[in-house]
Structures are given as structure tokens and as C-alpha cells.
């Protein structure tokens, strides 16, 4: 009986697919593929809105600045240890580098709120109130201008949908995630106590949206940091941001080195 049920279920799925395909065929010949949709038009999920980091992981390293020499969980090499062992926040402040812990690989692990909007059809803007930082995610065939390295670097973005060959006139796919790749980063800290990353760092992030039975929405960000200078291997973590109804708790604060 159960086997029959599975067969019927499988048949129903195929029928649904076939019916949907038939409705597509009934619309006439397929339109020639146009240019790819813009980042905004091609979004399979809506990441815009106000989000808050819920710090249930690595609390002691994220909520407060940990003591010098605390590198646990970060696969650093000896060169990184030497740099971290001479961390001096007063020196960073004096040098105007209090934002070293707020570069793209660091700010995402800060306790922060995010505000995500579309700056234009091919540029997503992500603001963090911790350190008052702004990241821009560029879709399409955007090319990095090649200027000086910055805290937030240059980020290219694409939707990963599993579907290919789509044209501009098609509706957006129903499922998928955002992938961003950030380079040209000004050297900073992975952790505020001076655990370093270099200008050769590449930050790759996968942004997934998950919904809960109680209506909560979360962004889960799988984060990969590659740094041939200071990491013995890639550093892989994941972050969780919960959607908030509005921006009433948005509270920008300047970078703090301590």
C-alpha cells in the first residue's frame, strides 16, 4: 500500500510538471533568449530588509573583545600568531586604523544589525550599524575599478538558482541563494584582538534565506575566508541573522579598536 502511495506520489509530481510544461507550450514558441535579468529582477529570494545578528556562537569572541593571544577556532599560521601577539589597540587608534576589525571578514561576525536594500538594479547595498560600514554587491558584468584596497573591498555577486539559459523576459526563479566574492581588501582583523587577514584575502559568502513555522525569517551565511598569508587553511564559519519588522533598533556606532 505504501509502495502504491509512493508511485502515485511520483506520478502526481510528474503530472504537475507536465501540466506546467504544457501551459508553457501553449503560450506559443519560446521567445528568443534576451539579455540576462538584472540582479534585482533575477532575485529568487528577497534579502532586503532589517536583520539582526543573534550571537549564540563564539559569544565570548564576538560580544566582547577577547584577550590578546586568544586565537581558538581560527586556523592561523605562525606568521599570523606573530602579528596577533603584538596587537596594540592604542597603536591602531593612533594610526587611524580603529576599523581594522570592521573589514568585510570581521564586521559580519560583529554583533550588528544589517540593512539590505537595492541601490540600483544591479547593486545590492548592505549596511552594518556596527562600525557604520557599507558593503556593495555588484551583479552582472561589473568589473572592479582596481583602486586602493578598502575595508569592504570589491564584491561581485550572483544568484545561484540551478536554472540556466534564462532571458530577461522570464520571471525570476523560485529558489536559490546569493553568492558573493570579495577581494581587494585592506588588511584587517578576523577577530578584534588582532588576529590578522592580509590584502591577499578572498572572502566568499553564500546567503540563504530560511523560513520558520512561526513566521521567523533567517539569513544563514556560509562564510569562507582564504588567506595564503595568515591562514593555514580556509576558515569556514556560518552566521545567522534574524529578520526584524523595521529599522527602529538601528543604532550606528563608530569603529572601536578595543
Amino acid at each position: 500500500m505504501r509502495t502504491l502511495g509512493r508511485i502515485l506520489h511520483g506520478a502526481a509530481v510528474l503530472c504537475a510538471a507536465a501540466l506546467t510544461f504544457s501551459s508553457l507550450a501553449a503560450q506559443g514558441p519560446a521567445a528568443p533568449p534576451g539579455p540576462p535579468p538584472t540582479g534585482k529582477a533575477g532575485a529568487p529570494v528577497d534579502l532586503t530588509g532589517n536583520w539582526v545578528s543573534i550571537v549564540t556562537e563564539d559569544w565570548r569572541w564576538r560580544m566582547v573583545t577577547p584577550p590578546k593571544g586568544d586565537y581558538a577556532s581560527v586556523p592561523i599560521n605562525m606568521d599570523a600568531k606573530k602579528v596577533a601577539d603584538v596587537w596594540d589597540p592604542a597603536k591602531d587608534e593612533a594610526a587611524g586604523e580603529a576599523c581594522k576589525g570592521y573589514g568585510a571578514p570581521g564586521v559580519m561576525r560583529q554583533p550588528t544589525r544589517l540593512r539590505i536594500t537595492w541601490q540600483d538594479d544591479n547593486t545590492m547595498k548592505m549596511e552594518a550599524d556596527a562600525g557604520t560600514q557599507t558593503r556593495l554587491f555588484h551583479f552582472g558584468d561589473w568589473k572592479a575599478p582596481g583602486g586602493a584596497a578598502t575595508w569592504q573591498g570589491d564584491t561581485t555577486a550572483q544568484w545561484e538558482t540551478g536554472a540556466r539559459g534564462r532571458g530577461a523576459n522570464q520571471p525570476p526563479p523560485m529558489f536559490g541563494n546569493l553568492k558573493t566574492v570579495t577581494k581587494n581588501l585592506r588588511p584587517g582583523y578576523l577577530r578584534k584582538n588582532g588576529v590578522p587577514y592580509s590584502d591577499k584575502t578572498t572572502l566568499t559568502e553564500y546567503w540563504d534565506l530560511v523560513r520558520q513555522p512561526n513566521g521567523d525569517q533567517w539569513i544563514v551565511i556560509t562564510t569562507v575566508v582564504e588567506d595564503p598569508t595568515y591562514l593555514a587553511r580556509t576558515w569556514i564559519t556560518s552566521l545567522n541573522f534574524k529578520k526584524e519588522p523595521n529599522g527602529s533598533k538601528w543604532d550606528p556606532s563608530p569603529c572601536a579598536a578595543r
Binding site: V52, M78, R113, F175, N214, T237, N240
Partner: protein, 347 residues
């Protein structure tokens, strides 16, 4: 007619190309897309987050980042880990939430329907301290709330596009952290299995009306690694510490003398160490940082999870310098100056 991969792909393309006519069609599209994602394999746990909690285990009284309530604190404060030495408790397994809380690797296998080829279930291997975990994908009904509870619980899964969402109920009461923080047998766990290339992120959201103030979210990312070890360890209870029959190690309320060690070690206020939902939000950290001063130097577990850990007098400490080079090849000049011996570790 069996559902072949090409037929599924054909249906998927059509479903992704037009808006669904109904919620049912949307669900079918989600299931089809998920059917093209393979979760099976051996996944290595890199422990790049929460190394202390996941590997050696959390400090006594460290409830930081846990949205627990007073009931949970009372249970955890009374907990004495040597309770686990009791023969009748040695083989009590951690519940399924330990997939993202524990240090173990993960092996996932598919159980296929021999006729349709569809996935009937995913089997997550059991390993040290953790039971096997079956995720039913065949739409079977959830058992009665009064049905027996097990460490693994009862899990059903469904694809939501590229994400496998799993709901688990019927878990026994269990330990969330190894310092005694509990969840109850009324807890519900929702997991999301998200594969990107050779990485698998498992996000867990635990809801518990008894011990937790807010849903508790954690995530762990694994890497596909055929060499990762996933070895079940048969548990054979034996007397490790002779005790008077009936003696259960514990602390009476208010009598645990070690609860202040953790906040003292890191200069944290006791309130922060006690956890609670409000301590997980950025505004709590902002207020705390205005008065917080970290200890001058890390003293415990400083290199945990890095490649820089060495053993010194039976203690894991940070390596203080690069290791001496490997034995030089035969062609190397014999008179090459040797590097100085590695100085003693600083800690």
C-alpha cells in the same frame, strides 16, 4: 515508468521557467529541485566555531549565548559531569541536536525506493555519543505525542528548493552543552541542510517551552571529505569510579562552588555568564563593552583548533615558534647551521 534523472531535470526546467499555478505545484517544484542535490557522503567537522564548547567542552557555568531561562540554569548549576561516569548513565546518548553542537564528523546515506528510485530516507550515521538519525522523506505521519521518545527523536524532511528542511520531535530530554544545559522532551528542532559546492551547512533552531526563552539557533559547516572518520563506538558500561549504590553526583541548589570560575577567567560579569535571550542581541554587547576590560593575556585553550597547538607537560599550549625544519635531504650540505631548538611554550 520510473522517474529518471533526465525526466526530473526536464520537469525541473519547466517548473523553474513559469510561475507555479498553486502551492501544490510550488511544493512539487521544490521537491524536484531538491532531488537533484546529493547530500550523501562523509562530511568533516572543521570546528572553526565554538571550538571550546565542541571539542574539550564548555567551562562550568558558561552559558554565554544561550537563550535559556531560570529553569535551565537551575538544572545546569546542579549538574556534575562525573554523573556520566555512573554505569547506568555512560551509554545515554546525546540527542539529535548534537549534530551541530558536537565535535563529530557526519556521514549521510540515502535510502532509495527500489521501484521509483526516490529518496525514502536519509540516514545520518551514529557515532561517538550520538545516535543514528533517520530523516524520513516519504511523507509519513508524525507519531502521537505520547509515543515513546528516543535520543534521536522522529524526523521528517522536505525539500524547500535547494534546502532540506527537517523537523524533529519526540527527543528525550538531553544535554545541549556538556556543562549541563538541558533541553526538554517537548523540544522541537528544525534543521536546514544547505549544500554549497563541497560544504554542508546545518542550521538548527531548537524551540523548547520548558527551558528556553527564545528559539535557539546554531549552525555548523562541514566539508566533504572521504577521509573523515565516522566510527561508531560501542558503549560498554563499566565501573569507572566506585561509588556507594544510589549516589548520584550533583550539587544542591546554590552549592556549586565552580560557577564563578568562568566569569573570573575572562573578566565577565556574572550576569553575562548566566545567558538569557537578551544577552544574544547586539545592544547587550554594546552596553557590556562600555565597561568591559579583557584580561591582559589569554591563558586557556588559546590555540585550540589551530595547527599551533603542542603538548607541554600534558597541557595543550601554543607553539611559540616555527618547528625545526624536517631532516634535510641527503644532497643538502652537512654543515648547514641547525635552527635553534624550539623555546619553551609561553603558557
Amino acid at each position: 515508468m520510473p522517474i529518471t534523472r533526465s525526466a526530473a531535470a526536464f520537469a525541473l526546467v519547466s517548473l523553474l521557467t513559469v510561475p507555479p499555478a498553486s502551492a501544490q505545484a510550488l511544493q512539487a517544484a521544490a521537491a524536484l529541485q531538491g532531488s537533484l542535490i546529493d547530500l550523501s557522503g562523509t562530511w568533516a567537522n572543521r570546528l572553526h566555531e565554538d571550538w571550546i564548547e565542541r571539542a574539550p567542552g564548555p567551562h562550568i557555568g558558561d552559558y554565554t549565548g544561550l537563550p535559556i531561562n531560570d529553569e535551565a540554569r537551575a538544572i545546569a548549576d546542579a549538574y556534575q559531569v562525573s554523573m556520566q561516569n555512573m554505569p547506568e548513565r555512560q551509554c545515554i546518548l546525546y540527542t539529535s541536536q548534537y549534530i551541530v553542537m558536537g565535535p563529530q564528523n557526519l556521514r549521510i546515506q540515502q535510502e532509495l525506493d527500489p521501484i521509483t528510485g526516490g529518496v525514502v530516507a536519509y540516514q545520518l550515521s551514529g557515532t561517538v555519543d550520538r545516535p543514528p538519525h533517520t530523516i524520513w522523506m516519504d511523507g509519513r505521519a508524525r507519531p502521537s505525542p505520547n509515543a515513546p521518545h528516543t535520543p534521536g527523536g522522529f524526523s521528517t524532511g522536505r525539500w524547500e528548493g535547494r534546502i532540506l528542511t527537517v523537523t524533529t520531535t519526540h527527543m528525550k530530554t538531553g544535554l545541549v552543552w556538556r556543562n549541563g544545559v538541558p533541553h526538554s522532551d517537548l523540544a522541537t528542532m528544525v534543521e536546514h541542510y544547505i549544500r554549497h559546492e563541497n560544504m554542508l551547512t546545518v542550521t538548527m533552531i531548537l524551540t523548547d517551552p520548558i527551558y528556553w526563552e527564545e528559539p535557539f539557533i546554531r549552525s555548523a559547516t562541514f566539508e566533504l571529505d572521504a577521509n573523515a572518520r565516522v566510527l561508531p563506538e560501542p558503549c560498554e558500561p563499566q565501573v569507572e569510579i566506585p561509588r556507594t549504590p544510589g549516589e548520584v553526583p550533583h550539587y544542591l541548589p546554590g552549592a556549586n562552588p565552580y560557577l564563578t570560575e568562568f566569569p573570573k577567567l575572562y573578566n565577565l560579569p556574572m550576569e553575562a555568564a548566566r545567558g538569557g535571550a537578551k544577552t544574544t542581541y547586539p545592544e547587550y554587547g554594546k552596553a557590556l563593552r562600555s565597561t568591559y576590560k579583557a584580561p591582559d593575556k589569554c591563558t586557556v585553550y588559546c590555540c585550540g583548533g589551530t595547527t599551533l597547538t603542542v603538548m607541554n607537560n600534558s597541557q595543550a599550549v601554543c607553539r611559540a615558534d616555527d618547528p625545526p625544519p624536517a631532516t634535510p635531504p641527503a644532497a643538502a650540505p652537512a654543515a648547514a647551521p641547525a635552527r635553534p631548538a624550539t623555546p619553551p611554550a609561553r603558557e
